[in-house]
Symmetry: D2
Subunit: 138 residues, 4 copies
C-alpha cells in the first residue's frame, strides 16, 4: 500500500525562503505549521470552522512528528491528513508531509485538537457539522 | 552622537535557531518581527494597548528597513524605538536593531501604525493614554 | 492600467494558519517572507541562483512595504515582481502582493539585493546569467 | 518535586507579537522553535556545536509536545532542558516551556537529534566534547 493511501484529504503548501534554516533544509518546526495549516484549511473549506466567528475553537493539546527525509525550499509540499480518533470534544489527526509528487513521506506526524468554547475555553462537544467532516476523514 | 541616543525605549529580544536562514544569518523579515514586538511590548507595558481587549487597535500601514550588518543566532538583540510623527490616528516610529552591547545598529527601520476601531476597522483618533505614551518617545 | 500590469513574473504562495496574527489577518512581517520567496524562487527556477552552491549570494540591504488591505489565511496570494534598477552588484525589485484573483494589490513593496561573494561577503558584479534573468523583468 | 527540578539547563526566550495566532495565544508550532533554540543555544554556549563550522551537525529526527496551558505574548518564557538518552550518534532531550516564574510547565516536549557529517549527512558518533556536554544534562 502506498504511503499516500493512508490519507483522506490533501493540501498543497508552498515553501518559503526562510523555511530553510542554517542547514539548508526546511526547519523541523515548520512541519507543524504545514500540518496545522492543512487541518484548518480543510475544516474551513468544508464549512466546519470559521476561525473568526465559530463559537467553539480547536486548541492543540498534543502534537508530534517523525522526520524521514529533508525538504528544501523552493520545493512545494503536499500534506495528507486523516482522522485517527474522534472523542466527545477532541479529534486526533495523522498527517504526512510529502515533497510534491513523492510516494514516500518526508515526515509523518500527529496532532490532537480539543474543542473549547471561544470565550470560556472550556471543552465543548463537537458540533454536528464538524463531527461529520472529520468522520469523513477516518 | 551615539546611534543609540536616537532611541527612547528599548526591548531585549532573544534570537532563535530558525531566525538564521540558509545564509547563516538572521533573515531580513525577522527584523520586522523584532521591531513590531518592541513597539507593541512597550505600548502594552505602559498600559496604552491591550491587544485582546482595547477598543482600538494599531494596524501597520507602512514599514521599511535598511540592513547594515548581519546578526546571527544565538546573539541577543536590543531594539531601540522612538516616535517620529504623531497624527490624529497614526504614529510613525523609527527603530534600530542592535546586537546586544554594540554601538552601531545592525539595521534601522521605520514603522507606521494607523489606529482603527477593532470591529469596524475605521480610523479612530488616538486615545489619550496612547497619545501620552507615544509623545514621551519623541 | 491594471495594477497587475506593473509586474513581470508571478509566484503563487499559500498562506498558513500562523500567518494570521492576533488581529485575524496576515502579520505585516509575513509580506516580506512572501516577497523574498517570490524573488528567490524566480531566480532559482530560471537558473540564476543556487542557494546552496552559487559562489555569489544576494543579501537584502533594504526593503519596504505599504499595506493597503488585509489578507486572511486561508486565502492564497499571488506575488508579482519586477525589476526597478540594476547596478553593478545590486538589483532592486518592486513587488505586489495580491489576494488570488484580485485586481488591486493588498500590499506593494520593494526589495534590494546586493550580491556578494559567499565566503568573503564582499560585493561582486552580477554574473551574466543573473543579469540576463533580472533584465528580463524590467 | 517541582516540575522545574526535572530540567538541568535553562534558556530565557522572549515571545514576539506574531507568536500569538488568531486565538490570541502563542501558536503550537512556536513551542518547537523555543525548544530547538534552547537546546542549540546550550550546545553553542558550551562549545559543543558551531552551526557554521562543526564537521558534524544534529538533525531533528523526532519531536513531540503536550500543551497544558496557554502562553501569551508579551510574556517571556523559560525553557528547561535535560537529556533522556544518549546513543552512539543521537541525543534525546526532554524540555519544559514555562511562563517566566511559573512553577508548572505550559508545555512539555521531547526532541531527538541524530548527528551526521555536515557534507555526507551520514550518522556519525558524537564527538567527545558534545558527549560530555549532554552527559552533564542527564
Amino acid at each position: 500500500m502506498s504511503e499516500r493511501d493512508q490519507f483522506r484529504a490533501w493540501q498543497s503548501i508552498t515553501t518559503r525562503w526562510d523555511d530553510n534554516d542554517q542547514y539548508g533544509h526546511v526547519n523541523n518546526a515548520k512541519f507543524y505549521e504545514f500540518i496545522d495549516s492543512a487541518v484548518n484549511s480543510h475544516l474551513i473549506h468544508m464549512g466546519a470552522l470559521d476561525p473568526a466567528e465559530s463559537p467553539i475553537i480547536g486548541l492543540v493539546v498534543e502534537s508530534g512528528c517523525r522526520y524521514h527525509a529533508p525538504i528544501r525550499y523552493p520545493e512545494p509540499v503536499e500534506v495528507g491528513i486523516a482522522v485517527e480518533k474522534i472523542g466527545t470534544s477532541s479529534v486526533t489527526y495523522r498527517a504526512g508531509v510529502f515533497v510534491k509528487g513523492h510516494a514516500k513521506a518526508a515526515a509523518t506526524g500527529h496532532f490532537a485538537h480539543v474543542y473549547v468554547d471561544r470565550v470560556t475555553r472550556r471543552p465543548t462537544p463537537l458540533p454536528d457539522r464538524l463531527r461529520d467532516v472529520v468522520s469523513a476523514l477516518t
